[in-house]
Subunit: 294 residues, 2 copies
Amino acid sequence: MTIQQLSQEIGIGIDTLRIWERRYGFPVPDRDARGHRSYSLQQVEELRVVKTLQSLGQRPGKIFSLTPAQRRELLSELSAQGFPQDRGLQKLVYQMRPGEIGSEMSRQLDALDLVNFIHQYAVPLLQLLDHGWNSGQLSIAREHLISDQLEALLRTRLSGSSTGSDPSILFLTLSGERHKLGLLLAAVLFEQAGLPAIWLSEELPLSEVPALAQELEVVAVALSFSGHYSARQAKQNLSSLRKSLDPAIKIIAGGHAVRQFTSLPNLLICNDLKQVDLLAKRYFQPSSGRKDKS
Amino acid sequence: MTIQQLSQEIGIGIDTLRIWERRYGFPVPDRDARGHRSYSLQQVEELRVVKTLQSLGQRPGKIFSLTPAQRRELLSELSAQGFPQDRGLQKLVYQMRPGEIGSEMSRQLDALDLVNFIHQYAVPLLQLLDHGWNSGQLSIAREHLISDQLEALLRTRLSGSSTGSDPSILFLTLSGERHKLGLLLAAVLFEQAGLPAIWLSEELPLSEVPALAQELEVVAVALSFSGHYSARQAKQNLSSLRKSLDPAIKIIAGGHAVRQFTSLPNLLICNDLKQVDLLAKRYFQPSSGRKDKS
DNA sequence: AATACAAATTTGTCTAGGACAAAAAATGAC
DNA sequence: GTCATTTTTTGTCCTAGACAAATTTGTATT
């Protein structure tokens, strides 16, 4: 596997991979005839552990002072902490056949109303997926399979067409951000709080956002920056956006990469989906607090 | 705008941007206090033109021998060639309000059957979007808005759950590939030709594909590599995949980046959606040629 | 002991310029 | 014209050094 393939595969920059090798002596790949790096499958696995530990808050200096075995141990320690133990969810995530997953979710959604489904079912499910991914018990493929089903289900519950009368919020992710699900949950909640959501599922270049927001006449743009995004890049992008976007349009940002972010004008940080209702009420004076059940 | 932001924004590698500057003298960015490159908005626009010309088959040597104005001229020449002139589509793409787009599509889908909708409506629409993007008449944002609606609509028409009895095909894109729509059309067509599709909308790392294909017991994996993907990377990834995937599982590849690709064992190249029916019949002996209308 | 500030360390991304294979174009032979 | 061979073009990789931003450690003050 070339350095570029590896970089895409696990989401670590090429420069970073090279300097880790120089500084910490890991990963040291084989070289092909030309002297180019060639990584083994084992190294890919070990790097995935490293990446996960890092996104859990561990620093490289510490991570690389451990042996691979110790790293895995630390990982299971860290990810053993509180996560939902719900039997039904466990079964859905780890055992259910792919074909059944979607219908099980629909069943749950029918049983609860939309807002409760999000808080009581979708959020715990996301946490469980996150935990499964962190601890390595859940393959990325299966994680995608499940989150995909949830995405498909929730997208059908978004109005899809702004009525034009109410002020709406534009939800999108920037190029490079692959995790959309948390944002989608937020979009549904905002909509249920009376603020129609315009959902853009494809990643958009930063420079396109201002014009689009203008054209759609939204009152806010909501973005999510997951743990994969480095905090540095999130910061750069948010302040670039703040500069280029109409100052009257609010920016709502969420996700692990913006946990403690120095504030910008008209920027709201939303790290907990339970805040959505409060935010909606405080900052957007909703025309009506309607909660239409599906 | 930093070199990294620019690279993500337009999809050209950092190394490539630097060597263009060295070789062709463009783009020459300003430098900040540290000596780091800082690109202007005008340069971003000009680079978008360059990128588009390149994906239209022009080579850098030629592109950079032109002035920016000449480049724009060449672009309109090249993209003036045959594209659908359908009035209704033109209106949908360029004038319709975002809220109406989705319902107009649904109306068309109800009027035609699914297969005809794809061939007579969706494909021309995609071509028009492509043309609009190439010629710069259509903003990326609006393009995404429209293709997003189409995606949402078509996803509801996929079975979503494999029955388990018929052999199914797994459709996915690899990390870094942003264009899914063409592949989605193919998935719908394969399904209508009697081969259930399993659709994964999130981009998946290459190394995860073999295990997933095994678990889902599919007879083939279908991937798409759009013009954004360099032909080189598509090639590398396809042959990596061929090595790691069960040799009995076919690979179906499509998209501009695999136009003339030297063949690999059990690899089918599909560059025209009209071939789908033929491919399905020739290689997969469908259990039934059913065409259930929605 | 807690808080605030300064110094040291860690970390990721940038810089430069060189090398080389794969792809494309140009050349020559038939 | 077509095919095979050379030449040019082009993108990605290489090394090794620099430096700011973030974080930790150390010190002084309340």
